[in-house]
């Protein structure tokens, strides 16, 4: 009843092409942003901010990066963690070696380094696709970590290969409190998400989707294969690189190369599969599901065993969490193979008709 677009007329191309053509969506989005930028940092406690919401945002950004490449341009990649690693370690080097640069340029440069690595490892995509391409990007995953572990310059010759993120200052204000780190992460993610949304609505985005749907047809209608595929790799790796830099600077503070193993690449891939392949919203939903859900499950099981006064062995609780989580992944994939974003879309369509469905 509330969610109805009757009476909302569009009288210009601009109005027709806006991101949220329905007024209720615009209001909801504005409220969400106000909530995220004002209410959360004011009322969220430190545990929520630094242990739950910040990592969720960072993983959402990484998932967004992978979604651009896999979901929109159709190029399967298992190198996400490697691109994040490039971003994290290069950001460290830019801040260390060129401290006059400032945070944002350092992060942008780190992202560009990741983009460069992405382009290099995207070259095989010109010849191969599907699972074969995934194997080529797998090589990237191992190669990048190998270089970081072996080349001392990258870790500033730290004996253990671990880097510690320096304190970063933004406009003279040091980002040390959880709220400040959260706001910085949120701003970066919001800007990049908006950019991604618009990019996908532009000519470039449509070229990506054409390549995804049928690359032969796309090249016949005049879409340059090399440029489009490599651009997809570059943009995707840029996003992952920035996510990696945030991972080091606003989340963990200290990173070792082992944090960016193949496991992490798979986790990000699961995020977009569960959230929705080829959907900006899906990247956020998937990241929320994979990062927050196990913790909620953990809190809930210990809460329930407390409430019922049953003494459950901790090992059982820990294993139970993995079992339930795995089961839910399978459940969602069976019920809605197109991901949580699609479920949301169906809900919205139903709401438009409610309470009088035909």
């Amino acid at each position: 009843m509330l969610y109805r677009e009757a009476g909302q007329f569009k009288s210009s191309y601009g109005e027709d092409q806006q991101i949220f053509p329905i007024r209720q969506d615009r209001i909801a989005m504005a409220l969400l942003l106000v909530f995220a930028f004002v209410v959360v940092p004011l009322f969220g406690n430190q545990y929520w901010l630094s242990a739950l919401i910040t990592p969720f945002l960072i993983f959402a950004l990484a998932a967004l990066g992978l979604n651009i490449l896999t979901g929109y341009a159709g190029q399967l990649s298992l190198g996400t963690a490697a691109f994040m690693a490039v971003g994290a370690f290069m950001a460290y080097n830019f801040v260390l070696r060129m401290p006059w640069l400032g945070v944002i340029p350092s992060f942008v440069l780190a992202g560009l380094c990741a983009a460069l690595v992405g382009v290099v490892f995207g070259l095989p995509s010109l010849r191969i696709k599907g699972f074969y391409l995934a194997v080529a990007t797998l090589a990237c995953q191992f190669f990048v970590l190998w270089v970081i572990q072996r080349w001392g310059w990258i870790t500033n010759h730290s004996a253990s290969g671990v880097i510690t993120a320096q304190t970063i200052t933004l406009f003279g204000y040091p980002l040390t409190s959880p709220a400040a780190k959260y706001l910085f992460t949120l701003s970066v993610v919001a800007v990049l998400a908006l950019a991604a949304k618009n990019l996908m609505r532009s000519e470039t985005g449509r070229a990506f989707m054409a390549v995804r749907d049928m690359d032969v047809a796309a090249s016949v209608i005049g879409i340059p294969m090399m440029k489009t595929k490599l651009l997809a790799f570059a943009i995707s790796s840029f996003y992952c690189g920035v996510a990696g830099a945030l991972y080091a600077y606003t989340y963990l503070g200290t990173v070792e190369p082992e944090a960016f193993t193949l496991d992490l690449s798979f986790r990000v891939l699961f995020m977009i599969i569960i959230g929705g392949v080829g959907s900006i919203l899906g990247s956020f939903l998937g990241a929320a599901f994979i990062t927050l859900f196990p913790i909620m499950l953990n809190l809930a099981t210990s809460g329930v065993s407390h409430a019922l006064g049953v003494e459950v062995s901790h090992a059982v609780v820990s294993n139970l969490e993995l079992i339930v989580f795995g089961g839910l992944i399978i459940f969602f994939l069976i019920v809605e193979p197109n991901g949580l974003a699609r479920l949301w879309q169906i809900t919205k369509e139903k709401l438009r008709l409610w309470p009088f469905p035909h």
Partner: protein
């Protein structure tokens, strides 16, 4: 609605903390009970909890302050470790007293946070080695013996076996390490000792998790080293022993770090493990007085941590008991200064650990003379530099084959100070002046 539910959930979780009795000391139990490293996590966690339970059951806590704890699963994963830390740090009347991350990676991730929250970190026999310089790392305590110190004791032990340190000249030693921050830590200290004593050292990396080591051991066969130092973790250890057996390398020439030298590492290798040597800062056994007390007061009342009684007194279990002794003795020390019978804060605990002095006489009182060596911590030295014993696996159990071997601080300390100074420079930290500490 969803937000209300979450808020209600958050409140429900916070509420037990509010209603808790005030005369309690909260120690988080953030360990791991699942995954490939679960034997280490559950064993160590079981030990520390058993010891705290002993103090509660037998003495009614520390000077009347009951010890409380809550388990949190870290999965040996940095992100989950940070989440557990954030979850546990505000619990109890004075917040988390001290955190044992039980993972080198998680320790690294918590260094900055613990400083900001004023909660000390104890990394018992692991962690960031250069944190032993207390001037740069006020809140981190790589207690008892760090990796570099342990390594010097190991080379001394090899020297003893060869008949003198001068006999090391021209000898070949291979360092097989887990390719991670943890594994790589000892490379520089080995290189320095190689130069000093004139032996040859080759470093061979084994990628995580280490269940495939044929290539590495073929390389060992080519080098024909006099000794192999094994720096493994988890499944890498039994695999290394089996691979060594396959190429016929004598196991009594393999010396392991303590994270490779537990029952859980040797038993899966079967006969291939016979003769295998490991370093240790704690010794196994169920017959020490302190272990008997735990058996009587904790397990006797059905409150023990292990369902599988055969793990009682194993290496990981007694290592957890050592952690329990160090933690509770530091709480006692802090109480003596800040008020007996009152819960202390993390900041006061930091002072307690820094002024911790577990003498031989005190160890005897605790019934732990055979468990660990005496320990003294100071502002300058956050480690203690305790000596190391070596044990050999006879196919059934670990038996001690050496005396306590002192570490060589003349090699380790300058390295620690140089490395800590570099860290201080990178982070813009001004080291404390220890003469001004009270």
């Amino acid at each position: 609605m969803k937000r209300i539910t979450i808020a209600a959930l958050a409140f429900a979780l916070a509420a037990p903390g509010l209603s808790a009795a005030q005369n309690e000391q909260f120690v988080p139990a953030n360990f791991y009970w699942v995954g490939p490293y679960a034997p280490g996590g559950s064993g160590f966690g079981g030990g520390i909890i058993d010891y705290m339970a002993l103090l509660n059951e037998r003495d009614g806590g520390i000077n009347g302050v009951k010890l409380t704890w809550e388990k949190c699963e870290t999965e040996y994963n940095n992100a989950r470790g940070v989440e557990c830390y954030e979850r546990s740090k505000k619990k109890g009347p004075t917040g988390a007293t001290v955190v044992h991350p039980l993972s080198t990676g998680i320790t690294y991730s918590l260094i900055d946070k613990s400083l900001a929250d004023k909660i000390p970190l104890i990394s018992l026999g692991y962690g960031r080695t250069d944190a032993s310089d207390g001037r740069v790392f006020p809140y981190v305590f790589p207690l008892i013996t760090n990796y570099w110190s342990q390594n010097t004791a190991k080379i001394k032990f090899i020297g003893m076996k060869e008949g003198g340190m001068d006999k090391l000249k021209g000898k070949k030693i291979v360092n097989i390490y887990h390719d991670s921050a943890y594994g790589k830590e000892t490379i520089p200290v080995l290189d320095i000792q190689a130069k000093k004593y004139g032996f040859q050292v080759t470093h061979i990396a084994v990628p995580h998790p280490g269940n495939e080591q044929q290539a590495q051991w073929l390389q060992v066969r080519q080098i024909k080293p006099d000794w192999v130092i094994l720096r493994g973790w988890g499944v890498m250890n039994p695999t290394a022993l089996k691979s060594a057996a396959k190429i016929g390398y004598p196991r009594n020439k393999i010396i392991a770090v303590w994270w490779s030298g537990a029952e859980e590492d040797a038993i899966p290798a079967g006969d291939a493990a016979k003769g295998y040597i490991s370093a240790g800062f704690n010794l196994p056994g169920a017959d020490m007085p302190v272990m008997k007390e735990i058996q009587k007061h904790v397990y006797g009342k059905g409150k023990g941590e292990f369902e599988d009684k055969s793990r009682f007194g194993s290496i990981y279990h007694t290592r957890g008991v050592v952690a329990g002794i160090v933690t509770t003795e530091a709480i006692r020390t802090a109480q003596e200064r800040y008020g007996k019978g009152k819960p202390i804060t993390g900041e006061q605990m930091r002072w307690g650990i820094e002024n911790l002095n577990i003498s031989a006489a005190r160890l005897k009182q605790l019934g732990a003379s055979d468990l660990m060596a005496p320990l003294k911590v100071s502002c300058l030295d956050h480690e203690g530099g305790s000596p190391v014993k070596f044990m050999q696996w006879d196919g059934r159990k670990w038996s001690v084959i050496s005396d306590w071997i002192a570490t060589d601080q003349s090699i380790v300390r300058p390295m620690i100070e140089a490395s800590a100074a570099q860290y201080a420079k990178e982070k813009g930290i001004t080291p404390r002046d220890c003469s001004k500490e009270k």
